[in-house]
Amino acid sequence: MTMIEAIRNAHDLAMDRDKRVVVFGEDVGYFGGVFRCTAGLQKKYGSNRCFDAPINEGGIVGAGIGMAAYGLKPVVEIQFADYMYPAYDQIVSEAARLRHRSAGQFTCSMVIRMPTGGGIFGGQTHSQSPEALFTHVSGLKVVVPSNPRDAKGLLLAAIEDPDPVIFLEPKRLYNGPFDGHHDRPVVPWKKHDLGDVSEDYYTVPLGKAKIRREGKALTVLAYGTMVYVAQAAAEEAGIDAEIIDLRTLIPLDLETIETSVKKTGRCVIIHEATRTSGFGAELSALVQETCFYHLEAPIVRVTGWDTPYPHAQEWTYFPGPERIKRAFAQVLEG
């Protein structure tokens, strides 16, 4: 399955199993989503359970909160993560706070899906990775799958979860494991082990990272697209890097991170988002706090720059294999 098919399949199984699951968003109903992640659902489950929404992201999330408070399980799509800002108040001030402020009387079991990341010539409003804007908000869980098998299992876990989950889908991975070599064609998921996805219902638990590549020389903390870019860099540079795919940013699997960095003594953190106050900053702080006496070199961050995501120069913005190799060298020298 492609990641799109895996996500669609997860929706299908969840809707089939639990009548409370409702799916809506812009172009999500009849058409099945601009990335086709919900194709076929309206036909199968009716327009009472999968429907189009007016172009109002705050309204989509706000209505979803009301539905969740009623007892349904809305799974909503924000067409691009770049368009989540109009919904930010509803997400932060409401979805994330409901359980706490009502002492558990009202809860918000809702999944907010959104495609993230660049490298598709989308310019500054179709390329953003706003995960840090969610990780700073208590009450939210934040998930970033890196492959179809995880995407399906994590999405089903997110739908089961009793709290609001932000589900960020790296759109550059929808069709294959993109490694940053944009001048080469992407190998489709069907040729990749992690594209071999069972049709059955299964979950991948939130809060558990996955070591994608074992190694002793240094630890790479990455998620989404950057997992593959890191792999390519490690292989091309011939470096014995241990690559951790975080999968869930909140709650974070700090144990796996700590164990690895204590072993390697060196750490490179990679994300596509803008650097300053990106999630890499939190990771760096945590690694430093937990592994200080094991660190043999400064932790290095490889990230998008502190600029808007440009259209024509997107490969200069994108943290590609070359930049990561330089970071490896730097952290090994240190």
Binding site: N48, G58, G59, P86, D89, A103, L252
Partner: protein, 410 residues
């Protein structure tokens, strides 16, 4: 074409600021009974007139007149009077408690008691309100224990919200009362979503959304209107126009519109203006809207025309921005006095019974306060344990919060 003249900015100002003489002569008020009662199934386009008048039932003589009268018997009216009196006494005691330092903050309903008290009686159990901080009448009229409200206000050991929320930010799911948000407007669209969920689930319950005149400016108001209009959600959209939003008068939010109710027209949502100080009118209009919602006819917008007689909150001194005499000049009067007069007019009440009722309510509110204070106040404690602050952030406490709770010493 002649050279255009320079433009200038229009900044709306209320007719009356401190020192001015209040003048409500431009507020057109129809006689009680004068406004028609459309069939609930009438096409929205055919009842646009309802947004430009004011439904009123109680006339100056204290009689209930016109097509909106006749829904409530004397028992129901006496209950309504009792609810409003209770809310007023509750407010008085809590205002005093705040001044005594027993809590940090309070918001009263003075002059607006009819709105929430009468509205509640038009709902069924199981329906859900998405209130603002100024609809405690929904709780009182719905039988929610006053002691619980006070426990919340005092952030004491028995506070159902564990001291987490500011005073009056109640939550009472079993009483159809959604957790109040400190952020204005957010709950308006949530109410629509709740109503959509009821429809999706083929349920029969309806939702009621609440917003203040000033807060209609917030963008979530639009989201609610769009979604309610598009999905014909079974929701009653209430605007409480109490003339003021802290220091700004309703004209700052209303702008060039004739009424707030008119906002419904751009969405094909029937809109009715009602005399918010007339218990019978509020109840009748709410019942009409509830019937529409329950019959699958979709949303109704109600503008409750009332007046915020007190300060915005205990942090506010309205004499800085409006005339002290405004409330006495307010043409729709005072809701408790009006209902009382009506009951007396129809021979179902008397000054003696009123005095006696006041005394009973006084005893009741006092007793509740005593019980609540036995659980503590903000100044004396006991408070909920700070440990509980880490609960309910998530259903299950994730490792980082466990670590933080430990770091905090709990």
């Amino acid at each position: 074409m002649t050279a255009p003249r320079p433009l200038s900015l229009h900044v709306p100002e209320p007719g009356c600021r401190p020192g001015d003489t209040p003048d409500f002569s431009d507020f057109e008020i129809p006689r009680a009974g004068a406004v028609r009662r459309p069939e609930v199934s009438e096409a929205p386009e055919d009842m646009r007139d309802m947004a430009f008048s004011v439904v009123r039932v109680l006339n100056k003589a204290g009689e209930a007149v016109g097509p909106w009268a006749g829904l409530l018997d004397a028992d129901a009216l006496r209950t309504g009077l009792r609810h409003m009196l209770t809310l007023r006494q509750f407010d008085e005691r809590m205002l005093k408690a705040q001044r005594q330092g027993k809590t940090s903050f309070y918001m009263q309903h003075l002059g607006e008691e009819a709105v929430s008290c009468a509205f509640r009686m038009a709902l069924e159990d199981g329906d859900m309100n998405f209130p603002t901080y100024r609809q405690a009448g929904l709780l009182i009229a719905g039988g929610y224990p006053m002691t619980e409200m006070m426990n919340q206000i005092y952030s004491n050991a028995a506070d159902p919200l564990h001291g987490r929320q500011m005073p009056v930010m109640y939550s009472a799911r079993d009483h159809g009362f959604f957790t109040i948000s400190g952020n204005l407007g957010t709950q308006f669209i949530q109410a629509v979503g709740w109503a959509m969920a009821s429809a999706i689930s083929n349920d029969t319950k309806i939702a009621a959304a609440w917003i203040g005149d000033g807060s209609t400016s917030e963008n979530d108001f639009h989201a609610a209107m769009v979604f309610a209009s598009t999905y014909k959600a079974p929701v009653i959209l209430n605007i409480v126009n109490n003339q003021w939003a802290i220091s700004t008068f309703q004209g700052m939010a209303r702008g060039g519109a004739v009424t707030f109710a008119a906002r419904g027209h751009g969405f094909g949502i029937p809109a009715i203006r009602v005399d918010g100080n007339d218990y019978l009118a509020v109840h009748a209009v709410a019942s009409w809207a509830a019937e529409r919602a329950r019959s699958g006819l979709g949303p109704t917008l109600i503008e409750h025309v009332t007046y915020r007689a007190g300060g915005h909150s205990t942090s506010d001194d309205p004499s800085a921005y409006r005339s002290k005499d405004e409330f006495s000049a307010w043409p729709l009067g005072e809701p408790i006095a009006r209902l009382k007069a009506h009951l007396i007019t129809i021979g179902e009440w008397s000054e003696e019974r009123h005095t006696q009722a006041m005394a009973e309510i006084n005893d009741e509110v006092r007793a509740c306060q005593k019980k609540a204070e036995a659980n503590g106040t903000l100044i004396t404690g006991p408070h909920p344990s700070p440990r509980s602050m880490f609960d309910d952030v998530y259903a299950e406490m994730p490792p980082h919060l466990q670590r933080q709770r430990q770091e905090a010493g709990f």
